[in-house]
C-alpha cells in the first residue's frame, strides 16, 4: 500500500509516496534520483549505502522508508556543498583512494561524520570507524591515508 512519508532530506522538507516497507536505499535512489548512494551487499555488511540519519551514519539498505518519517536524512549529495566534502574529495584524489569508486560515497559519508566528531583521529580510530565499509580495490591503506590527510587539512571545515 502506498502512503506519504514526510521527512527532511539534505536540509529540505520532502514528501514521498511509497510503501512503508520500501528499502530506504530504493526510496532515495528511485524517488529522489540520489544515485550517489550505492547498494552493495543489501545486508548492511558493506557500507556502500551509507547515509546520515539525524547526523549519525546509518545503512539505508536495511532501513525501511517508513522509519524516516519525521527524521533528518543526509546523503552524499547533501554534503557536496560543504567545505568538509571538498577537503575529503581532494584528499581521496591526492591519496589515490578511489579506484572503481563504488564504495567511495559511503567512505566519504562515514569519514565526514568521523572528522566532524574527532578533529585528529589516529590510524586505529579511522580504521575502527570505517570497519563497516568494504572496498574490494584499494586495500584500504590509501583510504586511511586520505582520511588522515583530510584531518590535517580540515581547518575550520567542520
Amino acid at each position: 500500500m502506498t502512503r506519504t512519508i514526510s521527512f527532511n532530506l539534505n536540509g529540505a522538507p520532502v514528501k514521498a509516496d511509497a510503501a512503508h516497507e520500501t528499502r530506504l536505499v530504493d526510496l532515495l535512489r528511485n524517488n529522489f534520483g540520489l544515485t550517489g548512494i550505492k547498494e552493495g551487499c543489501g545486508e548492511g555488511e558493506c557500507g556502500a549505502c551509507m547515509i546520515l540519519l539525524n547526523g549519525f551514519p546509518a545503512l539505508s539498505c536495511i532501513m525501511a522508508a517508513g522509519a524516516v518519517e519525521g527524521q533528518q536524512v543526509t546523503t552524499i549529495e547533501g554534503l557536496r556543498s560543504s567545505p568538509g566534502f571538498d577537503i575529503l574529495a581532494q584528499a581521496f584524489n591526492d591519496a589515490g583512494a578511489v579506484q572503481c569508486g563504488y564504495c567511495t560515497p559511503g567512505m566519504i559519508v562515514i569519514a565526514y561524520a568521523l572528522l566532524r566528531d574527532d578533529p585528529a583521529p589516529d590510524e586505529q580510530t579511522i580504521r575502527s570507524a570505517m570497519a563497516g565499509n568494504l572496498c574490494r580495490c584499494t586495500g584500504y591503506a590509501m583510504i586511511v591515508e586520505a582520511v588522515t590527510l583530510a584531518a590535517k587539512r580540515r581547518g575550520e571545515a567542520w
Binding site: G42, G44, G47, L53, L59, M63, A64, A67, S128, A131
Partner: protein
C-alpha cells in the same frame, strides 16, 4: 486490518494492539529488513508498525533496585553509556559495525533470539529480566526464560518487549571476549561473558555465560556453584578443572561459520583465559 493511523503508535499498549492486528514490529530494522527482503521485492510484506515514536521505549533510567533500559535503545547508545554495567557496553560494542550499531536496538537483539546474539551472554550474567506488554496485560520474566530456542521467544502475538531490567547494584568485575573472523560485521563463533562480585578476594556472586555454542545462550550454573565462596586464587589454581567443566557445559554445532570441535575447544580456552586473569586481580 492495520490502518494508516496506527503505523506510528505513541504508547506501548497501542503498539501491542497494532502488532496483534498482524503488523510486523519495526525497532531498528536491521534484521527485519533482511528477513523480509524477498517479501518486500514481491510486494508481499505485511504492514509494519514503527516503534520509534513510543517514548516509553527509549532511554535508560536508574531506580532503587533496578536499571531500566528501553528496548529501542541502540547498540551505539549502550556502547557509550556509563549508566549500565560495562560488560553490556562491551558486548554491544562488539556487534556489527559503527553504522549498524547506530540503528540496531537492544530489544531487537533480544527478540531476534539468535544463539549468537551479542548482547545476550552479558544480559544472562547480569540476571536481566524482560517486561512484556499486551493491550490487556503486563508480565515479567528472566531473559533466559524469555528466549526459548533459536529465533524463538515466549512473546505472545499480542505482546511487545517493553523494557529490559537489570538488578542493581550489579556485580563489579567483568570479563567479555568475542571470537569472530574479523572485528566488524562478523557473527560470533564463540563468546564468553563473566560478571563477578568479590568480597575480600572471595567470590560472592558470579554469572558465567557462553554465546553461540548452543541453541540458546548457555549459562554455566554448575560452574558458578563451584566458584561461589571460593577465594580468587583457588579459581586460578583450579583453572584446568574449571575449563574442562566449561568444555562439558557447551553444546555447539557444526555450521558454515565454525565446527563444534573448534567451538568446544575455544570455549574452554576462553574460560581458562578468564581464570588466568585472576592470578593478578586488578584492584
Amino acid at each position: 486490518m492495520v490502518t494508516e493511523a496506527v503505523t506510528y503508535p505513541t504508547t506501548p499498549t497501542e503498539a501491542a494492539a497494532v502488532k496483534k492486528a498482524g503488523a510486523l514490529p519495526y525497532a531498528g530494522g536491521t534484521d527485519l529488513m533482511i528477513h523480509q527482503a524477498e517479501n518486500i521485492r514481491n510486494g508481499q510484506c505485511p504492514p509494519m508498525v514503527f516503534l520509534g515514536g513510543v517514548k516509553a521505549f527509549h532511554g535508560i533510567t536508574k531506580g532503587n533496585n533496578e536499571l531500566r533500559i528501553g528496548p529501542l535503545t541502540t547498540m551505539a547508545e549502550l556502547a557509550a553509556s556509563a549508566q549500565i554495567p560495562p560488560i553490556l557496553s562491551l558486548a554491544c560494542n562488539a556487534m556489527g559495525s559503527p553504522a549498524l550499531r547506530n540503528i540496531a536496538t537492544l530489544g531487537g537483539n533480544i527478540c531476534t533470539a539468535s544463539p549468537a546474539g551479542d548482547s545476550l551472554p552479558a544480559l544472562y550474567t547480569l540476571d536481566a529480566e524482560v517486561k512484556l506488554v499486551s493491550p490487556a496485560s503486563v508480565r515479567r520474566m528472566p531473559v533466559h526464560r524469555f528466549i526459548t530456542g533459536p529465533g524463538k521467544t515466549a512473546l505472545e502475538p499480542d505482546e511487545l518487549l517493553a523494557a529490559i531490567t537489570i538488578p542493581v547494584p550489579a556485580q563489579e568485575l567483568f570479563h567479555y571476549r568475542k571470537v569472530s573472523p574479523r572485528v566488524a560485521n562478523a557473527i560470533t563463533k564463540v563468546s564468553l561473558a563473566v560478571s563477578l562480585a568479590v568480597d575480600d578476594e572471595i567470590v560472592r556472586d558470579i554469572g558465567i555465560a557462553f554465546g553461540a555454542v548452543g541453541p540458546t545462550v548457555i549459562r554455566c550454573s554448575p560452574i558458578e556453584d563451584v566458584c561461589i565462596g571460593l577465594p580468587l586464587h583457588r579459581l586460578y589454581r583450579d583453572r584446568a578443572r574449571l575449563a574442562a567443566m566449561a568444555r562439558d557445559s557447551v553444546k555447539p554445532i557444526d555450521d558454515l561459520r565454525s565446527t563444534a570441535l573448534y567451538r568446544e575447544a575455544v570455549a574452554a580456552n576462553l574460560f581458562a583465559e578468564f581464570l588466568e586473569t585472576l592470578n593478578h586481580p586488578k584492584p
